[in-house]
């Protein structure tokens, strides 16, 4: 089977597994919306202020809760499935790509869902909102790749559920800055091309790193 078919098959089944589990839709997303709800309660109801900081809060929620989305793979599928796929002849790079793509789609759905919640709760003033069509996928792609790499690095470890966020969040700082600054740029009418390019560079670097390390990480199975 060529690499592309393997990726498509693996992704389809992984995604189906996740969607049936429903963790993203029924746990992570509501949790994120609750977080969006608590912040005005903590800082007070100041509508202009909330309008101004809404996009920033949105992105930091996406980063922090997106880690939970990226983690779902390693927590859901039992380690034995990895051995099974290896013996069935699945390419490590195909597995990296499939897991990343599945997570990417879930993250994108999470971003859209949390985005609507932010619109409703904070009423941010965004003029050129169609730029989000580029911004959301670029951010989701970067975060899903960091998550998959970190998940593979920490696979088989007892402490992985607490370890993965500590590894992912600092490395994802450029994604957060790029996304938040681009949104800020949209708000005040400044240029955002620089930030989009930054996100594209982060994504490309991570894709190369993911492909180059996939086999090596799989061989070091515990």
């Amino acid at each position: 089977m060529n690499l592309r078919n393997q990726i498509a098959t693996l992704m389809r089944y992984e995604l189906r597994d996740e969607l049936r589990g429903g963790e993203v839709g029924f746990v992570v997303l509501p949790f994120g919306v609750v977080a969006l709800l608590t912040i005005p309660m903590a800082i007070g109801i100041d509508t202009p202020l909330l309008q101004r900081i809404g996009p920033g809060i949105y992105w930091s929620i996406i980063l922090l809760f997106g880690v939970l989305v990226t983690q779902r793979h390693s927590s859901l599928a039992p380690p034995a499935t990895r051995d099974m796929l290896r013996l069935a002849g699945a390419d490590p790079v195909a597995r990296f790509a499939a897991t990343t793509l599945a997570t990417f789609l879930l993250l994108l759905a999470f971003e859209v869902g949390a985005g609507f919640a932010t619109m409703a709760l904070y009423d941010p003033a965004l003029d050129s909102w169609w730029w989000l069509a580029a911004l959301l996928p670029l951010t989701a792609a970067g975060l899903s790749m960091i998550g998959t790499i970190a998940g593979n690095i920490a696979s088989g470890l007892e402490a992985r559920t607490s370890l993965v966020p500590l590894i992912v969040v600092p490395i994802a700082v450029p994604l957060l800055l790029g996304a938040a600054q681009a949104t800020e740029g949209l708000r005040v009418g400044a240029g955002i091309l620089r930030w989009l390019l930054l996100l594209a560079i982060v994504d490309t670097v991570l894709a190369v790193a993911g492909v180059l390390t996939a086999r090596s990480l799989e061989e070091s199975a515990a």
Binding site: M1, T9, A88, A221
Partner: protein, 218 residues
């Protein structure tokens, strides 16, 4: 005489704080089935993972299906190894049928719906194909893994206490699988504790203890 399917020489596996395998020599002849006995915690599962090319030995050498362990050549033979481990290798939220299709599609390199249907029929799960893996009994999950092996048709069959929780009918399935593999010139290695039950199915047995193979029985 043909070369053995598996040939290990002084294989050792070290883990922090203990030596799991000290020095294992093991040969599996083509067309033979071998039982692997040993007390709890004696390293049977580890040995099976080494033979399955999933775990690289800390030292020693080995050849599995003609590929030297620890070289890139094992990538080429992995597909010919069938393993049923302790833990079920199933995605919990996929149905039994979907789990089987996923494994079969990857292994065959094309959508394998027809093969999966066939195999489900053979292991007697045609009626339970739409049941989620997480809601299936231990025995049903085992049967799905046997169905996978029917499709994969491995040349090296490795069963790690795969008989646990099986009813007598499913037990016949294990015998059939072993016969099929040995019949086409492959080898089987079966980890088990119940000697009386396993005996009729195998040609010989080895015992693992203190990190070495301590006993051979024909």
């Amino acid at each position: 005489m043909t070369s053995p399917t598996v040939s290990l020489r002084s294989v050792a596996v070290r883990k922090p704080g203990s030596l799991i395998l000290r020095s294992v020599d093991l040969d599996l002849a083509p067309g033979s089935a071998t039982a692997l006995f040993g007390a709890n915690g004696s390293g049977k599962t580890t040995l099976l993972r080494v033979v399955a090319t999933l775990l690289r030995p800390s030292s020693g050498s080995g050849v599995v299906l003609g590929a030297d362990l620890g070289t890139a050549a094992v990538d080429g033979v992995r597909r010919r190894i069938g393993l049923v481990g302790h833990e079920p290798a199933l995605y919990p939220n996929l149905t039994l049928g979907e789990n089987l299709e996923l494994a079969a599609s990857i292994a065959l390199g094309r959508p394998a719906t027809a093969e999966a249907q066939d195999a489900l029929q053979q292991v007697g799960l045609a009626g339970a194909a739409d049941r989620r893996a997480s809601r299936s009994s231990n025995g049903m999950r085992r049967r799905i893994e046997f169905a996978r092996l029917l499709i994969l048709a491995p040349d090296l069959l490795l069963l790690d206490e795969a008989h646990v929780g099986l009813d007598p009918e499913a037990w016949l399935l294990v015998g059939h699988l072993i016969e099929e593999v040995t019949g086409r010139g492959g080898s089987a290695l079966i980890v088990a504790h119940e000697e009386e039950r396993i005996r009729p199915l195998v040609d010989g047995a080895v015992t693992l203890g203190d990190g070495v193979i301590t006993g051979h029985q024909e």
